[in-house]
C-alpha cells in the first residue's frame, strides 16, 4: 500500500495541502445507519435542515416544486447522501415533520 503513496519529494513542502476543500473526496455517507428522507409535499422550505446540518449535506437545489394543494416553490431541498452522516438533526428540527429517518439496508 505504502508504495502507491507519494514520496517525500512529491509531497508539497511541510505537508501543506494545496487543494482547498478536497475533503469532498472522502465520502462520509458510509457512516450512516439511518437516512433522512424529505417529503417534498410536506416540506415548507424553511431551511432549518439546511442551516443546522453540520456537514453541509442538505442542498438547496433549483428545482421548482408544486404541491398537490397547489403551493408553488421556486426551489427544493435535498439530502446529499454522499456526505450525510445520518445524525438526524434535520429530522429532529423539521417544524413540518417532513423528514423521516429510514433505516439503511445493505
Amino acid at each position: 500500500m505504502s508504495s502507491e503513496l507519494p514520496t517525500w519529494k512529491e509531497i508539497p513542502i511541510a505537508g501543506t495541502i494545496l487543494e482547498p476543500g478536497n475533503s469532498v473526496k472522502y465520502k462520509t455517507g458510509d457512516w450512516r445507519t439511518f437516512r433522512p428522507v424529505i417529503d417534498q409535499e410536506k416540506c415548507v422550505r424553511c431551511l432549518f435542515c439546511w442551516a443546522y446540518c453540520p456537514d453541509a449535506a442538505v442542498k438547496i437545489v433549483e428545482k421548482p416544486y408544486r404541491t398537490q394543494s397547489g403551493r408553488e416553490y421556486q426551489f427544493s431541498v435535498e439530502i446529499d447522501y454522499d456526505y450525510c452522516k445520518g445524525c438526524g438533526i434535520c429530522a429532529n428540527e423539521c417544524p413540518a415533520k417532513a423528514i423521516q429517518m429510514v433505516e439503511e439496508v445493505k
Binding site: 503513496l5 509531497i11 511541510a14 505537508g15 501543506t16 495541502i17 482547498p20
Partner: protein, 403 residues
C-alpha cells in the same frame, strides 16, 4: 559592477549590532519579549520603528511562547520576521521551535546565550542554545558584534532560500558580547543590504487568492516523509550557508567560514571552541606559541547543519583535539555537545586525533588565557602518557582537580 558600499563605523554591542541588521534587512514583523541579556535588541528595534527608521509591525507579546507563535503566524502570512531571546525564553519557545521548522518558515532569531535555571543565572553559557539542537533550525555561533550584524543579514538569505526554507538562529555570548562595545561597520544606506536579500514571493503563504491548509494532522503513513523533507533541507542548508558566505564576502568584503582556524597548520594540539571565548583562545595560542608549544585554535561557526567536512579537514592532522564546550549533557560520559558530535564523526576515520572533552565557562565562570594554557599542558602530558581521559573534564569546579 555593483556600487561600492559605504560603511559607518559605530561603537555597538552585539545586541545593537543585531538591531541594526534587522533594520537594514527591512524586516516586516518583530515579535519579542524582554529577557536579560537580550533585552536591548528589542529596545533598539523599537527605537528604530518609533523613529520611522524601520517600517515594521512590533508585536509586544506577553511571553516568548507567543513571540515565536506570532512569528510563525506572520511568516506564514508572508512577512519577513525576526525575534530574539535567551535562556528561559528559548526554553518557553521550545515547542514552537519545532513547529516553525516543521512548517518550513524562514524566521530569523538571535540568542544572547545564557545559562539555564536553576539556580537562576542571568550570565552566559551555551546550555540554552544547545538544548535547541534537534529543533531543525540552522544554527550559527558568532564571535564578534560585526559578525553578529553580518550573520543576521546572511541568516535571512539562508532561511528564505527556496532549497532551505528553515528558520535560522544566530547565537552569541550573553553579556560578554551582548553588553560589550566594539567598533562595527554598518551600512550607511541600507539599500545594498536589501538588494543582497531581496524579498522573495516564491514560497507558499496564507493568501486568500490561493487558499492552502498549513499544519494538518499527518497519520503514520505521511508524517515520516514530511519530516524527511527537513533532513534534505538541512543538507541543502549546508551548501547554501557556504554559498551565502562566499556571496557576502564578494559583495561586502567580510568572510566568516563555517570553521575558522588559527595557527593550526603545523599544530599538534588543537583547541576547538565557539562564541566570544574564541578571542581568548587565540590570545592563549599566541602565548603558548611564544613558549614553543605547537598549538592552534579552531572556531566552530556553524552548528546545524554540522560542517563535518570542514571540521575533519581542519583536525585530521592533529595528535590531540581538545573541545572546549560551554554546556553540559548531564549523565553523558562525554558531556560536551560539540565534543560528542566530533567523536561520532571520527569513528569513521582511520587516521584520527585523540579527543579530549572539556567543559568550561558554565554560568559565565571566567575563562582566561591561563586556563587554556593549563588545559593544553594537561592534554599534552596525558597524550604522552597515553591516558587521555575517557570522560569529560569539568574545568574550574572547586573541589575537582585533575593531574
Amino acid at each position: 559592477m555593483m556600487p561600492e558600499v559605504r560603511w559607518r563605523r559605530l561603537p555597538l554591542n552585539a545586541n545593537y549590532a543585531v538591531a541594526h541588521a534587522v533594520k537594514d534587512s527591512d524586516v516586516d514583523v518583530v515579535a519579542a519579549y524582554p529577557i536579560t541579556p537580550q533585552t536591548t535588541v528589542v529596545e533598539k528595534i523599537s527605537e528604530f520603528i518609533a523613529n520611522g527608521e524601520l517600517d515594521a509591525e512590533m508585536i509586544h507579546v506577553e511571553s516568548e511562547h507567543s513571540a515565536l507563535s506570532a512569528c510563525v503566524g506572520a511568516s506564514a502570512a508572508g512577512a519577513r520576521v525576526f525575534t530574539a531571546t535567551a535562556a528561559q525564553g528559548l526554553e518557553l519557545m521550545h515547542e514552537i521551535l519545532h513547529i516553525a521548522s516543521g512548517l518550513r518558515l524562514p524566521i530569523v532569531m538571535t540568542i544572547a546565550t545564557r545559562a539555564l535555571s536553576a539556580p537562576i543565572s542571568i550570565w552566559c553559557d551555551y546550555s540554552d542554545v544547545m538544548n535547541a539542537r534537534d529543533a531543525s533550525w540552522v544554527t550559527m555561533f558568532v564571535s564578534s558584534a560585526q559578525e553578529a550584524y553580518d550573520s543576521v543579514i546572511q541568516a535571512f538569505k539562508i532561511a528564505e532560500h527556496p532549497d532551505v526554507l528553515l528558520p535560522v538562529m544566530v547565537a552569541y555570548d550573553g553579556f560578554i558580547m551582548s553588553h560589550t562595545y566594539e567598533p562595527v561597520l554598518v551600512a550607511e544606506d541600507p539599500a545594498p543590504i536589501r538588494e543582497f536579500i531581496p524579498k522573495r514571493r516564491d514560497r507558499i503563504v496564507l493568501d486568500p487568492e490561493k487558499p492552502v491548509t498549513m499544519g494538518p494532522i499527518a497519520m503514520p503513513e505521511w508524517y515520516y516523509e514530511i519530516k524527511y523533507q527537513q533532513v534534505e533541507a538541512m543538507k541543502n542548508a549546508y551548501r547554501v550557508v557556504k554559498e551565502t558566505i562566499d556571496e557576502f564576502a564578494k559583495r561586502f568584503g567580510r568572510r566568516y567560514p563555517v570553521v575558522e582556524t588559527y595557527r593550526l597548520e603545523d599544530a599538534e594540539i588543537g583547541i576547538l571552541t565557539y562564541g566570544a571565548i574564541y578571542g581568548t583562545l587565540r590570545e592563549a595560542i599566541d602565548i603558548m606559541r611564544s613558549k614553543g608549544m605547537k598549538v592552534g585554535a579552531i572556531k566552530l561557526r556553524l552548528w546545524r547543519p554540522f560542517p563535518y567536512e570542514e571540521v575533519l579537514q581542519a583536525i585530521k592532522h592533529l595528535k590531540l583535539l581538545i573541545v572546549a564546550d560551554r554546556a553540559i549533557s548531564y549523565g553523558a560520559r562525554i558531556a560536551g555537545p560539540v565534543a560528542l558530535e566530533i567523536m561520532s564523526l571520527l569513528l569513521y576515520e582511520s587516521e584520527r586525533p585523540e579527543v579530549m572533552s572539556v567543559v568550561i565557562g558554565i554560568g559565565q565562570r571566567t575563562v582566561t588565557e591561563e586556563d587554556f594554557e593549563q588545559i593544553a599542558k594537561l592534554g599534552a602530558k596525558w597524550l604522552e602518557e597515553k591516558r587521555i581521559p575517557r570522560e569529560t573534564i569539568y574545568w574550574g569546579v572547586r573541589g575537582v582537580t585533575y593531574a
